[in-house]
């Protein structure tokens, strides 16, 4: 655990007890079993908003607290522990980051205070195919009279159905694969020409497929220069998601460790078996090294660094591998009971698989890390 200041310690403790007491894993089950198709629990989000969590990285000028990314990461980690389904990532992190980094004064004024208050939901619409590939943006934006119209389809849009504001990566020039020619647009979720379809994913939170058919878009940042905002925003998203995944993996590990200490077979507590001990110790090693990457990445953003590519790919790749390993071991070490739906292991496993892919899997980020390092 990073060395925290008083304000960070308070935030972390508040998040920890809120997640444990007010939003345990049973809440995710309830959301799933409600069959509402909602990607989060609105009541819980309202509470989170009241606690100020939606405004942690929003500048004070726009009614946020400007506590920074490490603070937000701590909340994501704690809510990740109990698999809290919330727009913390899509809105409090991604939406706030995109508007802060790329928004005009008017855009900031219009949206940041509402985000900070927990009143507006935002969603980033970037991917178009099954695998994360932001440079491959093909969705067309064409200049038309007073603005731009968008045509095309985005998928894997987190909290896309609930979003009041869609932040859309579109192509105004160049070819898929080019970073030049990508432009970001703001489009209200309920704008004419926008249709949204629910994608029911294994994690019970899901995502949206969003189709734009002549919908109007307002430019965020500069035309053709969206990559300069999109890439830093995606890196922040990856780091924030890695913090959430770290929390989930840690909780899954702790639940498993408890089981190892209580389950008896062959007259022995199974945690006394050396092969399980060594596997547990290796998981602990991965947890500790991943934590270092996640916290360092959060601190690096807070320090004002402009290039967080390596740090983000490192954090996301390590968190993905960690989530993969720990979720598998959680099931295996629980044996049969871990395979049943009444146990939480499956929920951790399914969330892990979705989070692993979101904003690029370990494979994507190993490739990217190598590129950034020049090989």
């Amino acid at each position: 655990m990073a060395v925290l200041n008083e304000e960070q310690t308070m935030l972390r403790d508040a998040a920890k007890s809120w997640a444990r007491e007010s939003s345990p894993v049973t809440k995710l089950r309830a959301l799933r079993d409600s069959d509402s198709g909602a990607s989060f629990d609105a009541a819980a989000w309202a509470e989170m908003g009241q606690m100020g969590w939606a405004g942690v990285i929003v500048p004070e000028d726009y009614d946020g607290t400007s506590f920074g990314y490490l603070s937000l990461g701590l909340i994501l980690e704690e809510t990740g522990r109990t698999l809290v389904a919330s727009p913390l990532l899509s809105t409090a992190l991604i939406g706030a980051a995109a508007l802060t980094l790329g928004g005009s004064d008017a855009q900031k004024s219009a949206w940041l205070p509402r985000i900070a208050a927990g009143e507006a939901i935002t969603a980033l619409a970037v991917d178009e195919k099954a695998h994360h590939a932001p440079k491959m943006t093909a969705l067309k934006a064409e200049s038309s009279g007073d603005g731009f119209t968008l045509n095309g389809t985005k998928t894997f849009v987190i909290d896309g159905e609930a979003a009041d504001l869609l932040i859309v990566a579109a192509r105004t020039s160049g070819e898929p694969g080019d970073t030049d020619g990508i432009t970001l647009f703001l489009t209200p979720g309920n704008a004419a020409g926008v249709t949204r379809k629910h994608l029911a994913l294994a994690d019970s939170r899901g995502a949206a497929e969003v189709t734009f058919a002549g919908a109007k878009g307002e430019v965020l940042g500069e035309v053709g220069k969206g990559w300069a905002i999109l890439e830093p925003v995606l890196d922040r998203a990856r780091i924030g998601l890695a913090a959430e995944m770290l929390g989930s993996a840690l909780q899954a590990f702790e639940i498993t460790l408890d089981y190892l200490k209580t389950r008896t077979q062959f007259g022995q507590v199974i945690g006394t078996f050396q092969s399980l001990q060594h596997r547990a110790a290796k998981m602990f090693t991965d947890l500790e090294t991943t934590r270092s990457c996640v916290e360092a990445a959060l601190e690096q953003i807070d320090s004002g660094a402009t290039d967080n590519r390596a740090a983000a790919s490192l954090a996301k790749a390590k968190a993905s591998d960690l989530a993969h390993l720990v979720s598998n071991e959680m099931v295996q070490m629980h044996g049969g009971i871990g395979m049943t739906d009444v146990h939480d292991a499956g929920l951790y496993l399914k969330r892990a698989r979705v989070a692993e892919q979101l904003f690029g899997g370990a494979s994507y980020h190993r490739d990217r890390y190598a590129r950034v390092l020049g090989f």
């Binding site: 029911a200 092969s275 099931v331």
Partner: protein
């Protein structure tokens, strides 16, 4: 029969071929219309396509649902070579199985070895004919890897046994007619206090509850016994002598699992998924070199596994005893199927993350669910940890911790 001549075998092949031409119902050449046609037999077997039942009855009449069992108990009485001919002819016409049955795969072989003549006469013909569908009462909530730790009590009440307790992971308990069940008849000993009994699932006091898995619905049940009365004639083997039978039966179960691996070949092919969703480079290689490498390594391990199964079979036949390679097959099969299904989900990307709904094809949803279901491969039928312990101790001769 040992020097069964090639000529006789060819005559047998012709005979099988003629019989199949005359008796295999043409309506079974199409895929199953619905699950009711899965030929599990039993009292409630009532397939939508009645030919599934006709096929079962015809095969059972020849004893070919249990081709190598003795004819006196309804079996086919075939030699190993004849059975291979029968199997190859069934494969040739792509015949559906006539009968899927735990009775044939697991219970029958141990009855042939351990049951009294009376018990054999009573139970085996019904198994061959698929009249009775069986389930297996082994695992309990507190007795998984440590199966011998089971606690379901069986008391001697003079003229009958009285059974109380709970089983778990009972496949198809809610659809089975009878159960073969491990019970505790002596609480003062562990392995020597277990007995092997058979009883009717319609007995008073039997209750089943289906288990939902992380992958969705499943054939597994929890099964509860409350003062279930069982006639003493339904004890197989000696009182407190059930552990030996239990272990032997597990061998048959594992052979069953090993033969096919786990769901190999089913569903979406990982290479096709990667080519479609990840794309290929100018040389036709999967564009993600990292994923491609892992798929290649997996395909190699898969090929190595298949070659090992084949080698173990050949060696087993040649040496009339199990090859050392058989000891690692269950472990390797579980690992491979987990890898295969994980790689498929990864190759599909977002399309591999779907749980339900029209945005995903049945194959894509199947990929996710197969990946989840495959996690049990290293748990069911003996965990991988137990498999490795067994290899270390029995095959490599390493000793227990003192």
């Amino acid at each position: 029969m040992a020097d069964f001549g090639g000529g006789d075998l060819e005559a047998f092949r012709a005979e099988v071929r003629d019989w199949l031409a005359a008796n295999y119902p043409p309506s079974l050449n199409s895929p199953m219309d619905d699950e009711t046609e899965a030929p599990w037999g039993g009292r409630r077997f009532n397939p939508t396509n009645k030919d599934a039942k006709l096929w079962l009855d015809r095969m059972a009449a020849k004893g070919w649902t249990a081709p190598m069992w003795p004819t006196e108990y309804g079996g086919g009485g075939l030699s190993r070579e004849q059975n291979k001919v029968l199997e190859s002819e069934l494969r040739r016409i792509k015949a559906r199985p006539a009968l899927m049955s735990f009775g044939i795969w697991m219970l029958g072989p141990v009855l042939l070895e351990y049951a009294t003549e009376e018990q054999k006469q009573r139970f085996l013909p019904g198994i061959v004919k698929g009249e009775i569908r069986w389930c297996q009462g082994y695992s309990e909530p507190g007795a998984g890897s440590d199966l011998a730790g089971l606690q379901t009590r069986c008391e001697d009440k003079g003229d009958h046994f009285l059974i109380n307790g709970q089983k778990v992971w009972t496949s198809y308990a809610d659809q089975a007619d009878w159960i073969f069940c491990l019970v505790r008849t002596d609480t003062s000993k562990k392995h020597e206090g277990i007995s092997f009994v058979l009883f009717d699932m319609t007995s008073e006091g039997v209750e089943t509850r289906p288990i939902k898995l992380i992958s969705g619905s499943s054939p597994f049940c929890e099964t509860f016994f409350t003062d279930v009365k069982v006639p003493k004639a339904q004890l197989v083997g000696k009182l407190n002598g059930g552990w030996e039978i239990a272990k032997r039966l597990l061998q048959y179960e594992r052979q069953n699992i090993s033969a096919g691996g786990f769901g190999a070949g089913a569903g979406i092919d990982v290479v096709e998924a990667a080519k479609e969703h990840v794309g290929v480079d100018a040389q036709g290689r999967i564009a993600d070199g990292d994923l491609r490498t892992r798929i290649s390594a997996h395909k190699m391990d898969s090929a190595a596994f298949q070659l090992t199964v084949r080698r173990a079979e050949a060696e087993g036949k040649a040496s009339k005893g199990p090859s050392a390679a058989t000891s690692i097959i269950k472990y390797a099969a579980a690992k491979l199927n987990q890898e295969r299904t994980e790689l498929t989900v990864e190759a599909l990307g977002l399309q591999g993350l779907g749980w339900e709904g029209e945005a995903f094809s049945a194959g894509e949803i199947g990929a996710m669910r197969s990946m989840l279901r495959a996690k049990a491969n290293s748990i069911e039928g003996g965990t991988s940890e137990i498999n490795l312990n067994v290899v270390a101790k029995r095959v490599l001769g390493l000793l227990d911790h003192q």
